[in-house]
């Protein structure tokens, strides 16, 4: 039964006598006057099945005319082409035309890299060398090269030491064939990667052969192909793609040196290596044909570490230059890799022959030094990009430092891992480097890069000021303040202070 009250406002409904009700035809057009209750709606309810197009409303049909919404035209942006975003992310900008040109800027050269009077000044990297440095991926995307007119590095104490070593190995007859082996460590932003870059630059100046592994992580993160080495060695794995990339980097950067050297050893495993062909061509065959990359790399290494020709190939032999090897991010090589073997177990990084080869160089050689023609091994650790657990490496590096300082492994002062801690014996084994039998071969050292001195900090800040980035009067007091703010002259922190934009109040 219809209620006598309106459900919407609880007022009594008007009683309308039947006699004054309008005829049904007009009642249809008249909507409910004041109330919205079902009672009135029912009274005005039209007969079902009204003609299409008439104004007759169905039960519960909204009386509002439907507004046609205009379809908004949305421009669909296409995603950028494959690889473009990564290219932008990895782009390295080495020049800023808005920065001032620094007057009287000297370039890194054979003379300036050993000149101790220039300590603390910024030296520019020679422009023709930039292509080589790019080829070996010496520059990292997040380093602040893009704010200066041209890339420069500060000549700090460690750089000068390195410069003198490079100079001696190449020039001095007595020191010829000397080898240094360093694991470069230090706090975050203390300039480890740039130290490697400076070493590479010096290597190019001195016409050494430079091998670089710019990201050690890429070898173990299971992002490139791998395969068992051979039937005889099913537990060793070869990474042909990564080896081919290394060869192509090496060829691009060391073209001049490698094109002057010829194959003078026998390589039964590499049919492509013909006696008398240049090492550049040899390396190129490996870079182009991935399947043979590892064999070609071994042949190239054998050639570069040769101290004399094979019998019958004397006419092709010329003395081999020293070799520089740099590795950035060593921590990733000191644990299990992300690769899996056929039994679905993780493969240890030391079972990858690529990694194993470069780590084996840290040990003293048996019959001859690990780099018989001299050279340097600089392997840098990282503080920000490490695998989850590097405790073993930390302890092993303390042991390296202790051994270098003359502490006997049997003495109680020798650093040992905490009892019950999880350690990896393979890491200790690979970094255990006894003193070499060969006088020229140095012992493995752990070099810790600290902060720069006040003088070096001043030179660095002056370079910022002369580039137009820093608008301050550089005084001793100001430099001293910033040196302290930078955690005792940590060079990356000094850079942050130097490039911070200051607005005059």
């Amino acid at each position: 039964m219809v209620s006598p009250f309106c459900w919407g406002c609880l007022t009594p409904l008007r009683q309308t006598s039947r006699t004054i009700l309008p005829s049904p035809s007009t009642a249809v057009s008249r909507g409910p006057a004041f109330h919205t209750s079902a009672a009135l709606q029912f009274m005005g309810r039209p007969s079902q099945g009204g003609k299409k197009g008439s104004t007759v409303l169905k039960f519960r049909q909204p009386a509002v005319a439907a507004m046609k919404k205009k379809k908004k035209f949305v421009e669909k942006a296409r995603p950028p082409p494959v690889g473009e975003r990564k290219a932008i992310r990895k782009r390295i900008v080495l020049s800023n035309p808005n920065a001032l040109e620094v007057e009287g800027l000297q370039e890194l050269s054979e003379e300036t890299m050993v000149d101790s009077r220039l300590r603390g000044t910024a030296l520019a990297l020679p422009v023709p060398m930039l292509d080589q440095l790019r080829a070996v991926q010496a520059f990292k995307p997040k380093q602040g090269w893009s704010i200066f007119r041209r890339p420069c590095t500060v000549l700090r104490r460690e750089t000068l030491e390195l410069g003198r070593f490079f100079d001696n190995v190449t020039g001095d007859v007595e020191r010829r064939g000397a080898v240094i082996k360093k694991i470069v460590g230090g706090a975050r932003k203390s300039g480890k990667s740039v130290h490697l870059l400076q070493a590479m630059a010096m290597g190019f100046i001195k016409k050494w052969v430079v091998f670089t592994i710019p990201e050690a992580q890429e070898l173990v993160s299971a992002t490139s192909s791998y395969a068992p080495l051979s039937e005889e060695n099913p537990n060793l794995y070869v990474q042909n793609e990564a080896t081919a990339a290394l060869l192509s980097r090496t060829v691009a950067a060391n073209k001049d040196v490698l094109s002057g050297l010829r194959v003078s050893q026998n390589h039964p495993t590499v049919p492509a290596a013909k006696p008398g062909m240049t090492l550049e061509d040899l390396a190129k065959t490996g870079a182009q044909d991935q399947a043979s990359a590892w064999a070609v790399f071994q042949a190239l290494w054998k050639e570069l570490t040769a101290t004399g020709p094979a019998p019958g190939l004397e006419k092709h032999y010329t003395p081999r230059p020293p070799i520089l090897v740099t590795v950035d991010g060593l921590g990733h090589w000191m644990t299990e890799s992300q690769y899996r073997n056929a039994q679905f177990k993780l493969i240890h990084a030391h079972d990858l022959v690529f990694v194993r080869h470069f780590l084996s160089l840290l040990k003293p050689g048996q019959d001859q030094p690990s780099l018989p023609n001299g050279g340097a091994l600089l392997y840098a650790t990282s503080t920000t990009n490490n695998p989850p657990y590097v405790y073993t490496l930390d302890v092993a590096l303390k042991q390296v430092a202790a051994r270098d300082a003359g502490v006997e492994p049997s003495s109680p002062q020798f650093p040992q891992p905490e009892p019950y801690s999880k350690t990896d014996p393979r890491v200790f084994e690979v970094l255990e480097s006894p003193k070499s039998k060969h006088a020229q071969e140095g012992r493995l050292q752990h070099q810790i890069l600290g902060g720069v001195t006040h003088d070096e900090a001043r030179g660095f800040m002056e370079y910022f000021a002369r580039s137009g980035l820093l608008q301050e009067t550089i005084s001793d007091g100001w430099v001293s303040e910033k040196w302290t703010l930078a955690g005792g002259g940590v060079i990356g922190e000094l850079e942050r202070i130097g490039k911070r934009l200051r607005v005059a109040a």
């Binding site: 299971a222 192909s225 794995y237 899996r340 073997n341 056929a342 039994q343």
Partner: protein, 119 residues
């Protein structure tokens, strides 16, 4: 285009995803298959060597996947029904099989649990 087990895959997709497109192969099985043939997890179908494709196809053809597996699942449900077990009965009624409450939240069971289950 690369054929794995008679199916055509574009070269740009990951091998892992290609394997997982088969009914009965999930993340774990595909990762184990990749490891067995020394294929790294970010490998694309186009980067596979011919031998690896043949190896994968051979391994897949030995496994119970796709229609064989579907048939087995349906047979299992049918067997439960025919032996008159509770599980079989619940399947037939379209109700939860594993003791869940039925007062609310049984839409999935209503949708899926049948004797001739859609797979």
């Amino acid at each position: 285009m690369v054929y794995i087990l008679g199916l055509n895959f574009t070269e740009s997709i990951l091998v892992k995803k290609a394997l997982q497109s088969f009914f009965g192969i999930g993340t774990d099985t595909s990762a184990r298959l990749l490891a067995r043939y020394h294929i790294h997890p970010t490998c694309k179908v186009g980067e596979l060597a011919n031998k690896q494709v043949l190896d994968l196809t051979a391994a897949l053809s030995d496994m119970k996947i796709e229609n064989d597996l579907r048939r087995q699942v349906l047979d299992d449900i049918k067997r439960l029904r025919e032996t008159g077990t509770t599980r079989g009965r619940r399947h037939a009624l379209g109700l939860p099989v594993r003791g869940q409450r039925t007062r609310t939240q049984i839409k999935t069971a209503i949708k899926l649990n049948r004797v001739d289950r859609r797979l």
